[in-house]
């Protein structure tokens, strides 16, 4: 029998509680490489000499928390894959500015898809500058595909 996550228990015990805080700082070259690889051509993303030089608006999606899931979270019953991302930039992210990202579990639910039963978890990171100005929120939807009994190891 495959393992499944107890969705109700997870919602009760883990939802909306910050479980991770991580610090980031971007370099100009990092921003340029990121921007050009995405296909950005606007100089505010590709030219460190531009007066409004900043990270492309989706950069916050790349920040990963130190802990993927909260302490005490049940073991995942299968491979976790990225099912979608939403990013809302609120203010420019500049190189050399210390940033802090705080993460919480925002939602969890189950559904069936092409590859079987899946559990979806949405984690949200809020990114702040040293003045606690919210620069962006970035949601990650992780899908855990349940392993069928014959594949369970």
């Amino acid at each position: 029998m495959s393992e499944t996550l107890d969705i109700d228990s997870i919602r009760t015990n883990f939802l909306n509680q910050d479980y991770d805080e991580r610090h980031f700082e971007l370099t100009p070259q990092q921003i340029v490489d990121y921007a050009e690889a995405c296909g950005e051509t606007a100089p505010r993303y590709t030219d460190p000499g531009h007066p409004d030089f900043q990270a492309p608006p989706t950069f916050a999606s790349s920040f990963q928390p130190g802990k993927r899931l909260p302490d005490g979270f049940p073991k995942l019953p299968g491979l976790g894959m990225d099912a979608g991302k939403a990013v809302s930039p609120k203010a420019p992210m500049r190189p050399g500015v210390p940033l802090v990202g705080r993460t919480h579990l925002h939602d969890v639910y189950a559904k069936t898809g092409r590859s079987g039963r899946m559990t979806f978890m949405v984690t949200r990171m809020e990114v702040y500058d040293p003045d606690q100005l919210l620069l962006a929120t970035a949601d990650t939807r992780i899908v855990i595909r349940e392993r069928p009994a014959k594949d369970a190891s």
Binding site: Q29, E36, A37, G39, E40, T58, V87
Partner: protein, 137 residues
């Protein structure tokens, strides 16, 4: 054709199709910059050993492609939100095509909504999503 103000945008307007660089070297450059360097994204053989069809274009890169496409169409656009659903993986070194279409305009708020779709060479949708964008008056 690029857009410089919201008054130039028509409901239903299609953004110029964008065919991003999904080549291995470009993906490698991206994952190093993003701090996501790992064989799943940079090594076809290693990815297949994980049960994947090949090295994957990371979801955050496909999201970055969408933002770049919007900026290519409207260089002064301020992206307020990009929300993407990953239906199936994009594979490194396999071409894909991104289309976008304007589905709502609020000229008073200076805000436009765009539907975005990434399809592979077979025309299958791999990623879809929406973006909210502010444009100058």
């Amino acid at each position: 054709m690029t857009i410089n103000s919201i008054s130039e945008v028509e409901f239903g307007a299609e953004l110029p199709v964008f065919e991003p660089d999904t080549g291995l070297a470009n993906v490698k450059r991206f994952v190093v910059a993003a701090g996501w360097n790992g064989p799943r994204f940079t090594d076809h053989e290693a990815a297949r050993k994980e049960g994947l069809p090949g090295a994957l274009v990371p979801g955050i890169l496909s999201q970055g492609y969408l933002a770049a496409m919007i900026h290519r169409w409207a260089p002064e656009a301020l992206i307020q939100n990009v929300d993407t659903v990953f239906r199936a993986p994009l594979i490194v070194d396999e071409p894909c095509s991104i289309s976008g279409v304007v589905t709502d305009i609020d000229e008073e708020a200076g805000r436009v909504e765009i539907d975005l779709t990434i399809t592979n060479a077979k025309g299958e949708t791999r990623v879809f999503g929406t973006a909210e964008v502010k444009l100058p008056a």
